[in-house]
């Protein structure tokens, strides 16, 4: 049993409207990999931000080597020995490796003159320690993603971090880069560094984890040491048992396939393929969930289908008509619609009203001669607002006055007004509360029952079961499982979501 260097007790973090963490205890062991697991939104990132000084806890105490501590800022935490490697790389691509590592804490002479020689030497030392011969003067933008990850780690180590937090460090790495990272982790362990490791890849966790902490809905679900942990145990603790929403069975029989994808490939970053020779088809009246981890290729699949990825290769046919080469506009007209994941960035136009947003994709429907006919527009807008139960003061209300769930319904409503036949929804339940989720899912079922083909992505296992009739799992740009919802066990889905290409289904 190794020594506990850091412990947090009774951590609670309140954000306006929600409790991100409730009474969570967390212990960090020196010279070990401390794994933190939980679904998206379980509170992992919030807990890590508190440890790294980015956020301050609302309640709770933290002790480090027996002394009570508090971190006012990320600089404060770093100076006390806690380093963090964020999930998204936080490097400046226009600066060199050395400049990135010493950003904000340059080694100076007399406080003004940057001692470049000393910094370069120190960088070379760090790279040596990580067994990487990355040129300290290379531009970070020129490095591979894996190398950039090493630079991030070096940045954390430059301040002699005794606790190193890694938030999904392997999500962007290739298999060989992962091996290098694990070697580095092994060395850091031997040097007595405590590592806090967050990942969704259960195989990975089982392989390198020493102590496991599972969070669920902002609460501590379980803790255990390596010898007592199995993958089924993790899944059970992570998901709990309660249902998200009551499921409604389909009212109609699914028809013959309407959307067929054949040998679809899309180049990704580096040598990897974002989509790897993927073939699948979807049927009207059926709801299909696509489950997968971040970077599995779900969004890329949708964007390729919708014509947003001009370098995608392969065939996409809607009702037998080949769509390759068609613009977004033409695909929309033939009945294919994408509801994007990030509604603030991709879904809504903030300066338009609720009605302006709803009508944006189907202006032709209520254009008479050259102008928008209010007489034709208003009843259509009223109808969709009613149909989707959008809570708004009216079609003229500013879009910003709506809650997240209602904004999401506006984005869906906009798509429906184009009278689509296939609706692709990218993470439709993201960032909306449980009640709104249930309504969105219920809307999806209504639409499927009207004969639409509905496909949605999710990173939340429970949400695959909540509405879907059929569940696909994607990993590394491939489809690794294709199951009827009633046959799909959580364990099978989780395992499929981490399958490496060598073992994936063709």
């Amino acid at each position: 049993m190794s020594q506990v260097v850091f412990s947090a007790k009774g951590i609670t973090k309140a954000f306006p409207g929600t409790l991100a963490l409730q009474d969570v205890d967390f212990e960090v062991h020196a010279g070990a990999v401390n794994v933190l697991i939980g679904e998206n939104g379980a509170g992992k990132s919030t807990l890590m931000k508190i440890l790294a000084g980015v956020e301050q806890p609302t309640l709770g105490t933290m002790t480090m080597e027996g002394n009570s501590v508090r971190f006012d800022s990320i600089r404060d935490a770093a100076s006390k020995g806690i380093g963090i490697v964020f999930q998204e790389l936080n490097l400046c691509p226009n600066l060199s490796v050395t400049e990135n590592i010493f950003l904000g804490r340059d080694i100076t002479k007399a406080g003004i003159h940057i001692d470049r020689a000393a910094q370069t030497r120190r960088t070379a030392e760090l790279m040596g320690r990580l067994e990487h011969d990355i040129d300290p003067s290379a531009l970070v933008g020129d490095l591979m993603i894996g190398e950039q990850q090493i630079v991030e780690i070096a940045k954390a180590l430059a301040e002699d971090a005794r606790i190193l937090i890694m938030d999904e460090p392997t999500s962007a790495l290739s298999a060989s880069e992962v091996e290098v990272l694990f070697k580095v982790i092994g060395e850091l362990k031997r040097a007595g560094v405590a590592i806090i490791y967050i990942s969704h890849r259960l195989e990975e966790l089982i392989r390198i984890g020493d102590y496991f902490t599972v969070l669920r809905d902002g609460r501590l679900a379980a803790t255990a040491a390596r010898e007592n942990v199995t993958i089924p145990w993790i899944i059970e603790k992570m998901l709990g048992s309660e249902e998200v929403v009551a499921k409604r069975p389909p009212a109609i029989q699914a028809g013959p396939p309407i959307l067929s994808v054949d040998h679809l490939s899309l180049p990704g970053r580096g040598h990897a393929l974002a989509l790897d020779n993927l073939s699948v088809s979807f049927r009207p009246g059926e709801i299909t969930a696509i489950y997968g981890l971040l970077g599995a290729g779900r969004t890329e699949l949708f964007e390729s289908l919708y014509g947003l990825r001009p370098n995608a290769r392969g065939s996409v046919r809607l009702d037998g008509v080949e769509l390759a080469g068609h613009s977004v506009n033409r695909r929309m007209k033939s009945g294919l619609l994408l509801v994007p994941e990030d509604r603030q960035r991709d879904g809504l136009v903030q300066n338009l009203s609720v009605g302006g947003n709803l009508g944006l994709a189907s202006l032709r429907r209520f254009t008479r001669y050259f102008s928008i006919s209010k007489a034709h527009e208003a009843p259509l807008l009223e109808q969709i607002i009613k149909q989707l139960h959008i809570k708004t003061a009216g079609a003229d209300a500013p879009i910003t006055s709506l809650s997240g769930g209602n904004q999401q319904k506006v984005v869906i409503g906009k798509s429906l007004l184009t009278e689509p036949r296939v609706l692709l929804l990218d993470e439709p339940s993201r960032g909306i509360d449980i009640g709104a989720k249930a309504e969105v899912f219920s809307t999806m079922r209504d639409l499927a029952d009207q004969g639409l083909c509905i496909v949605y992505t999710t990173s939340d296992l429970k949400e695959t079961h909540a509405v879907a009739d059929r569940i696909l799992v994607m990993a590394y740009g491939r489809i690794t499982a294709d199951l009827r919802a009633e046959e799909a066990s959580d364990e099978a889905l989780v395992r499929a979501s981490t399958l490496k290409p060598e073992t994936a289904l063709a």
Binding site: L308, D346, N351, L352, A393, S401
Partner: protein, 348 residues
């Protein structure tokens, strides 16, 4: 939701909304204040004749500002309009004075005035199209792309005449190209033609912006380009179109200016682009795109026009005029920020 949550303080809320209304109408109020001020201070300011003179001055800037507003609504900017004014004026003047020379055929063709007008409008619109293509297909930042065409068009205007002026553009009876001065100096029912052009363009532009699918797409592109594209809006086409509109408006101004002077000078229209941007901003158009009204822009142009003509009539020096104009623009933007902050507060 907003009214329910803020009901405990109805008094403060109604004050805030009254202030908000005042801020929203600030350009209009400014126009009234400025007009009243000069009516009291400058002798002869209030007269039909003076109103027509001011309106004729304003028309030039306002027409440019209409095109500019469309461009700014998409989040772009068009610096080339002043040069397009110069170039299209020179094209028209050259065609009237020297005809279209076809050395290969050894003949000179003299187009009539309508044809001259059509060619000049085509040239302006084509330069706008080039701006649009540079911005969309080649991904050049609007500021840089139109800065480039600012120089190119001005250089082309100078090259057309070797730097000299085409003068006395009244045409010749035997060439059948008389009548050009009507655009700048003619009257219909006592109203100058240039003002009629402004009224027609402003009405069409306001209608197109508010009531047509094209207009709504312009606002959507300026508000959130990605969301617009995902909704099937062909963003590139919209952007090219707004630069073409701006180029067209600049060509109209080029014709009016050269017609008024009965001469075209290659330096004509210099710094006009800045006045047009000022009118749009003064009228409440947001430079980040997506927010603004044609009506606001027209009022903005009138504020600038009344201000400069009034100051001239009061005998204020040209240098002080510039200082005052600058301060007014800054004040307009400050008030705009205030309005937005207040609007955000009352919404909560």
């Amino acid at each position: 939701m907003s009214t329910a949550s803020s009901s405990p303080a109805p008094r403060a809320n109604s004050n805030a909304s009254a202030l908000l209304l005042l801020l929203k109408l600030r350009t209009f109020i400014a126009l009234i204040v400025v007009t009243l001020f000069f009516a009291l201070m400058a002798p002869n300011f209030v007269s039909v004749a003076n109103a027509i003179i001011i309106s004729k001055h304003v028309a030039i800037n306002a027409i440019l500002a209409i095109g500019m507003t469309y461009v700014i609504l998409t989040g772009g900017i068009d610096l080339s309009v002043g040069s397009i004014v110069g170039l299209t004026g020179m094209v028209a003047g050259g065609l009237l004075a020297h005809g279209l020379q076809l050395p290969m055929l050894g003949i000179i063709v003299y187009p009539n005035v309508l044809e001259v007008v059509a060619i000049a409008l085509l040239v302006g619109t084509a330069i706008g199209a080039i701006n649009g293509l540079l911005v969309t297909k080649l991904g050049v930042a609007p500021f840089i792309a139109t800065l480039g065409t600012l120089y190119v068009a001005r250089g082309a205007a100078l090259l057309l005449s070797g730097g000299s002026t085409f003068s006395n553009l009244v045409g010749k009876e035997e060439l059948g190209n008389q009548g050009y001065p009507i655009i700048g100096s003619g009257n219909v029912l006592g109203i100058p033609v240039s003002i009629i052009i402004l009224i027609v363009l402003a009405l069409v532009a306001a209608y197109v912006a508010q009531r047509t699918p094209f207009g709504r797409k312009v606002y959507a592109v300026g508000g959130n380009e990605r969301a617009a594209a995902l909704s099937g809006v062909r963003v590139d086409r919209i952007k090219i179109a707004v630069y073409m509109i701006s180029g067209f408006c600049a060509a109209v101004v080029g014709l009016i200016v050269s017609s008024q002077l009965v001469a075209s000078h290659p330096a004509s229209g210099e710094t006009f682009e800045l006045n047009a941007i000022a009118a749009a901003v003064l009228g409440g158009t947001s430079l980040s795109g997506g927010r603004g009204l044609i009506g606001g822009t027209i009022i903005g142009a009138f504020v600038i026009g009344v201000l400069s003509d009034g100051l001239v009539m009061m005998g204020v020096s040209e240098f002080w005029q510039m200082v005052i104009k600058g301060l007014v623009i800054i004040a307009a933007v400050v008030l705009d920020q205030l309005q937005r902050r207040l609007a955000a507060n009352t919404r909560q």
